[in-house]
């Protein structure tokens, strides 16, 4: 479903409404109007949409949007008005995103100052889907988002378990992978490799970046015995630094990977999904299974779990903790980078995508249990599904709020998360 919004730019002065009538104000009095712009997300203005202004149920004025989608309804004085968008005047296929909110009940206008209002639009939901089908589709989207979060945040949890560090700069490991893949694949000045070739290279680069962080920064700091809180603040500084260096080179606009960009959804009964999302879901879940098997079945995996449990004991039983730490950082960087690439495929690549995802990652990791790999997986899925399915009842704008609310709720009720152990929290 495409979301269409009203552009909310700075109030533009001197627009000509195509036709606006209102009760007349005494001459010489301050002039003020209720203004706005109605257009689609592709910035196509919609002409002829009717806006009605009332005060205490008395009609004060009305207007229609002009060919630039702008409207301006003058009102005689400052005060509180009700502003209604006449849905019947909207073209076919376009409706208010929330049809129950066609009237803004409390628009406060000050003397002499125009007041700008917003009427967000959405696509007309033609053809009803059953409740069950809609929730199921949301759940599948949630699984996909959750899988990406799980993959990306696995490294966050692993690093915490091995080094005791909550690494805010993990966000930039995610962004780095996605950006490198873009540079190799979609950048006009780059080699233009197919995404399926660029992605593994970017994942390796992500692993290298993780390795560099550990060797160049965190290990020397640990040797100086820098405290945990100081490390956290340093990681915030690192995150800020790397993020804006990436901004410098990548630019502020979101970019998409040219491969797989536009796809038709495939439907199976009531379910519909875009092929790339299905692939992402499968790939992410497969990788999570692989990581799980790795941690359980291989010597290195067991060593990682041992160091996470009790560093000194692991060291005294002959495990090379330095090597295990290095491998953990490489894995964290690689997995985070892959998560970033998958997110870039399903949404877009932006310079601060990692930071935007970071809070979701924290939510997932804490929900599942900070410091356990399986916790990160479980938590990621729960956060993904919950926040997507919540949009069935709540407006979409609350998705992130729901996820963060869940994070706070978990910390209040069961701070160690689903799979964590109680002594880790406080």
């Amino acid at each position: 479903m495409a979301l269409l919004f009203v552009a909310g730019a700075a109030p533009a002065a001197g627009q000509e409404p195509s036709s606006a009538t209102s009760t007349t104000a005494p001459p010489g009095a301050p002039k003020q109007a209720i203004t706005g712009q109605i257009d689609t997300r592709d910035d196509e203005p919609i002409e002829g949409v009717r806006i009605i202004v009332r005060q205490d149920d008395e009609r004060v004025g009305s207007g229609r949007t002009d060919k630039d989608g702008n409207f301006s309804v003058p009102v005689p004085t400052g005060g509180v008005y009700q502003v209604t968008l006449d849905r019947d005047s909207l073209p076919d296929g376009v409706d208010l995103r929330d049809p129950d909110r066609s009237t803004l009940e409390r628009v406060v206008v000050r003397d002499g100052r125009d007041k700008r209002v917003l009427f967000p639009l959405g696509a007309d939901e033609g053809g009803s889907r059953s409740t069950g089908a809609r929730i199921l589709n949301l759940a599948i989207t949630g699984l996909k988002t959750g899988a990406i979060i799980a993959l990306a945040s696995l490294g966050l949890s692993l690093v915490f378990s091995i080094a005791g560090l909550v690494n805010f700069a993990h966000a930039e490991l995610v962004t780095f992978g996605a950006v490198v893949a873009f540079m190799l694949h979609g950048w006009s000045g780059g080699p233009g490799l197919p995404l399926l070739v660029a992605a593994p290279v970017a994942v390796v680069a992500g692993g290298a970046f993780g390795l560099t962080q550990e060797v160049a920064l965190w290990r020397p700091l640990r040797r100086r015995q820098t405290g945990r809180i100081a490390l956290l603040v340093i990681s915030i500084g690192l995150s800020l630094f790397v993020r804006h260096i990436i901004l410098l080179f990548f630019g502020p606009s979101p970019r998409t990977y040219p491969d797989f960009a536009v796809q038709q959804a495939i439907t199976a009964g009531p379910l519909s999904i875009v092929p790339k999302d299905l692939v992402i879901l499968v790939v992410a879940i497969a990788l999570l299974v692989v990581v799980g098997l790795f941690l359980q079945g291989t010597r290195i995996g067991t060593a990682m779990r041992a160091v996470a449990d009790n560093r000194d004991l692991a060291e005294s039983s002959g495990i090379d903790v330095q090597r295990v730490t290095l491998i953990t950082w490489v894995a964290a960087g690689a997995l985070a980078g892959l998560g970033g690439i998958l997110f870039g495929v399903t949404e877009a690549v932006v310079w601060d995508m990692g930071f935007t995802l970071l809070l979701l990652m924290f939510a997932g990791v804490i929900l599942g249990g900070l410091g356990t790999a399986y916790g990160a997986m479980v938590g990621g899925f729960v956060i993904g599904v919950t926040s997507e399915v919540s949009t069935f009842w709540l407006p979409v704008e609350f998705k992130l709020v729901v996820a963060l609310g869940l994070l706070i709720a978990v910390l209040l009720v069961r701070p160690q998360g689903i799979l964590g152990s109680p002594e880790r929290i406080g």
């Binding site: 100052r113 909550v166 809180i229 100081a230 603040v233 407006p395 406080g426």
Partner: protein
């Protein structure tokens, strides 16, 4: 390259409204982080509720005094709401919770659902008349040489730094009181403080509320100066800026926030103007002016890192105090 202009603009920034507001926010955060050792990373949330509380009150026709009360009360409520459930959590968890809480507030302020109160993404403008009306300075320019401000700005600057002075004196008095000593004890070893019978959660809560209310004054000051509030002004990066101010000035020291803010804004604006001048006069050619913002912010990040690594006690702080406990 006009270095004179760079110096003038940097100096104006160092003593301007933003510096005063950040000093105020830092006084509040200093109580949390510097004195009590609370890792509050959602400080911008206090600024947001203070600013929005005041702005909505003024917009609805309330007096300036009422606006101040509403803003501060909102911040106090936020402090309690945040503190009661989370103060038993460990430092890094508290950091995450507070960042999440501040982001929730910003996201809620952006929603359409709450537009009747917050006016969504556009925010609220044009409400600062009662503040402007109190301005005793007649029209004109005030300052020394080129370091001069309009009468409206001068008023905001005077109010801002007065607030900074008052709150700093309050912190000075409190820090020498038994209350302040308990806070420092909590910072250094909470279990020890608790074993002596101190209700540490209660003290932490008081610290959170007091620091939060002072932080909200910073938000109110900025809102009145710009006569505007908008949700995307209150991003997490603002909290990071305040941390740089607190740490560079010296955590747990009364002068820390003041000196930290002045130095920070002097350098921050100075770098900005210097880079712009250099680009304009073709002294530097490999970047253009659109890149300057990113460079500035990456330097802040780098600065924060170097500060914490090499001089976590800032200018006035004590290294021993910073190294005790879990630091």
């Amino acid at each position: 390259m006009d270095w004179g202009q760079v110096l003038v603009d940097a100096t104006k920034a160092g003593i301007g409204v933003s510096a005063a507001a950040y000093a105020l926010a830092a006084v509040g955060l200093n109580i949390h982080f510097g004195y009590t050792g609370l890792l509050n990373f959602g400080h911008v949330g206090f600024m947001l509720v203070g600013a929005y509380g005041a702005a909505t009150t003024l917009d609805a026709g309330g007096s300036l005094l009422l606006a101040l009360l509403v803003g501060s009360a909102a911040a106090a409520a936020l402090g309690l709401l945040l503190g009661v459930p989370t103060l038993r959590l460990r430092a890094d968890y508290l950091a995450i919770v507070t960042i999440a809480a501040a982001e929730i507030l910003r996201l809620l302020a952006r929603t359409q659902t709450l537009e009747p109160i917050t006016n969504g993404v556009l925010g609220i403008q044009g409400f600062a008349r009662p503040f402007d009306d109190l301005n005793p300075f007649p029209r004109g320019s005030y300052g020394i040489g080129e370091v001069a401000f309009s009468s409206g700005k001068t008023w905001a600057i005077v109010v801002g730094w007065t607030l900074v002075a008052l709150t700093s004196l309050l912190v000075l008095a409190l820090s020498h009181s038994p209350w302040g000593r308990v806070l420092r004890a909590i910072r250094e070893d909470e279990d020890a403080a608790r074993s002596l019978g101190k209700n540490t959660v209660g003290y932490k809560l008081q610290s959170l509320v007091l620091g939060g209310v002072i932080g909200s004054l910073a938000g109110i000051l900025l809102a009145l100066d710009r006569s505007a509030v908008a949700p995307d002004t209150y991003l997490p990066v603002l909290t990071f800026f305040v941390y740089v101010v607190v740490i560079s000035g010296g955590p747990g020291r009364v002068l820390g926030p003041i000196v930290g803010a002045v130095v920070f804004w002097f350098l921050y604006q100075g770098v900005d103007i210097a880079l712009r001048e250099a680009v304009r006069s073709d002294t530097i050619t490999f970047i253009d002016s659109a890149d300057i913002g990113a460079i500035q912010l990456s330097l802040v990040g780098l600065g924060l890192m170097l500060l914490m690594i090499y001089r976590p006690q800032g200018i006035f702080g004590s290294r021993e105090e910073m190294l005790v406990g879990e630091r």
